[in-house]
């Protein structure tokens, strides 16, 4: 019976969502257009977005905002809507995996709301950073932002598995440590999924590789800032693909030059083998680009799996980040070359 159900529904549920994301991927901004965008000012960028997939959001928000604010809000809203759409149009295993992956935005939003509350940022500014794509909806976040104190916000999550982390924050835990703990909780909840089926296996492999990229970026960033091993180790997310906790610990103990040389043999080394002497911000861009390329190439090898969907989600996020860097760079009057160096063009 199970076999019959497998034969009768499995290919269809993957084929549907994969076909949709493949068509959606065609609508992402082509790499050639970034050169055009680099020569535009902030208002021209907003106009360009109005003629693209961001039209609906720009039209909706243009009466209220302009310039950088308009672009910022429209990008966040579009990202939320795109991710919510993916949940809406999928079912079965693909939906489960997408929902699991998008839970990162619940934590992202929670971190931003708490940070906003802690430092007294205006509510509108915090709202612009929210990506409503996880378990909770817009109303929930509005209610959360309306709470008077951080304690009230934390109380809302009583009974949730991550409540102890929030509770620790109230009891004077540093904000950075709290954010690291939430990240760890998120990744641990994903890596603890048992790889029963091949679909789960692909998903887990993706998550583990993402952890590798996150960890190596953390190690390099902290090393560049001159941090000691004891400061780096608590920030390492366990469950990496090649960069397991003990390996990460070993790398964290090395000097920066030695560390760079030791990266040979890791799957992400090809991203940086020719650029070891470049500044860290550039190296991070190379990591992101190589990671995206790797996911895209894997998604072509395993077309009826979660990988094309994850690849689309990653590319969409990169596109939104790129547009934000472009718009912010232009608004701040940064030179075109400096902006271009920060873009992850896949």
């Amino acid at each position: 019976m199970a076999l019959l159900r497998r034969i009768s529904t499995k290919p269809a549920e993957w084929a549907y969502i994969v076909a949709r994301v493949r068509v959606m991927s065609r609508k992402l901004i082509p790499r050639e257009d970034y050169n055009k965008l680099l020569n535009m000012d902030i208002h021209e960028i907003a106009r360009y977005l109005e003629e693209s997939e961001y039209k609906r959001e720009i039209d909706e928000l243009a009466y209220k905002y302009s310039g950088m604010d308009l672009v910022d809000y429209a990008l966040s809203l579009n990202l939320s809507r795109t991710y919510s759409k993916l949940i809406r149009i999928s079912k079965g295993v693909p939906r489960q995996l997408i929902v699991q992956y998008l839970r990162r935005y619940d934590f992202w939003n929670l971190k931003n709301i708490i940070r906003g509350k802690m430092f007294g940022f205006p509510r509108e500014e915090v709202e612009a950073t929210l990506v409503i794509a996880g378990e909770y909806d817009e109303q929930f976040y509005r209610a959360l932002m309306a709470k008077e104190t951080i304690e009230d916000i934390v109380k809302t999550f009583e009974g949730k598995p991550f409540y102890p982390i929030l509770d620790k924050l109230v009891k004077a835990c540093p904000l950075a440590e709290f954010e690291d703990e939430l990240d760890k909780f998120y990744y641990q909840s994903l890596t603890s999924i048992s790889p029963e089926t091949i679909d789960m296996k692909y998903f887990l492999e993706f998550i583990r590789m993402e952890i590798d990229i996150k960890n190596i970026k953390t190690i390099l960033r902290l090393k560049t800032e001159g941090a000691e091993m004891d400061e780096i180790v608590p920030k390492i997310v366990p469950g990496g693909y090649q960069l397991k906790e003990d390996v990460a610990r070993r790398l964290a103990a090395m000097e920066l030059d030695e560390l760079m040389k030791s990266l040979e043999g890791f799957w992400f080394h090809e991203a940086i083998k020719d650029v070891l002497r470049e500044p860290l911000s550039r190296i991070e861009v190379y990591f992101d680009r190589m990671w995206a390329q790797k996911v895209v190439s894997k998604s072509h090898h395993f077309p009826l799996s979660i990988l094309p969907v994850l690849s689309y989600m990653l590319l969409k996020k990169i596109e939104v980040d790129n547009l934000r860097i472009l718009a912010r760079g232009k608004a701040e009057g940064l030179p075109t070359e400096a902006i271009k160096e920060q873009l992850v063009i896949v």
Binding site: P11, A12, A15, A19, R22, V23, R26, I89, L304
Partner: protein, 71 residues
């Protein structure tokens, strides 16, 4: 059982099994075609064409059934 009865069962199986096979083949293609069309209606022609390709299997089954019944 007379031979005509067995031939009729064979003909039925030829069409029936071919139909099931084509259905299994078409489910993923159909789902993908509908997915692509939902995002971009321009895929209608290509989607329809791809969806009916496995139908040819049923035609083979039908031919076999005719051969069994009438030749």
């Amino acid at each position: 059982m007379p031979v005509e009865g067995l031939v009729a069962i064979g003909a039925g199986l030829a069409v029936g099994l071919a139909g099931i096979g084509a259905g299994l083949g078409e489910q993923a293609i159909g789902a993908a075609a509908v997915g692509a069309m939902a995002e971009d209606p321009e895929f209608f022609g290509k989607g329809l064409l791809m969806t009916v390709i496995p139908e040819t299997i049923v035609i083979f089954g039908l031919v076999v059934a005719f051969l069994l019944m009438f030749i």
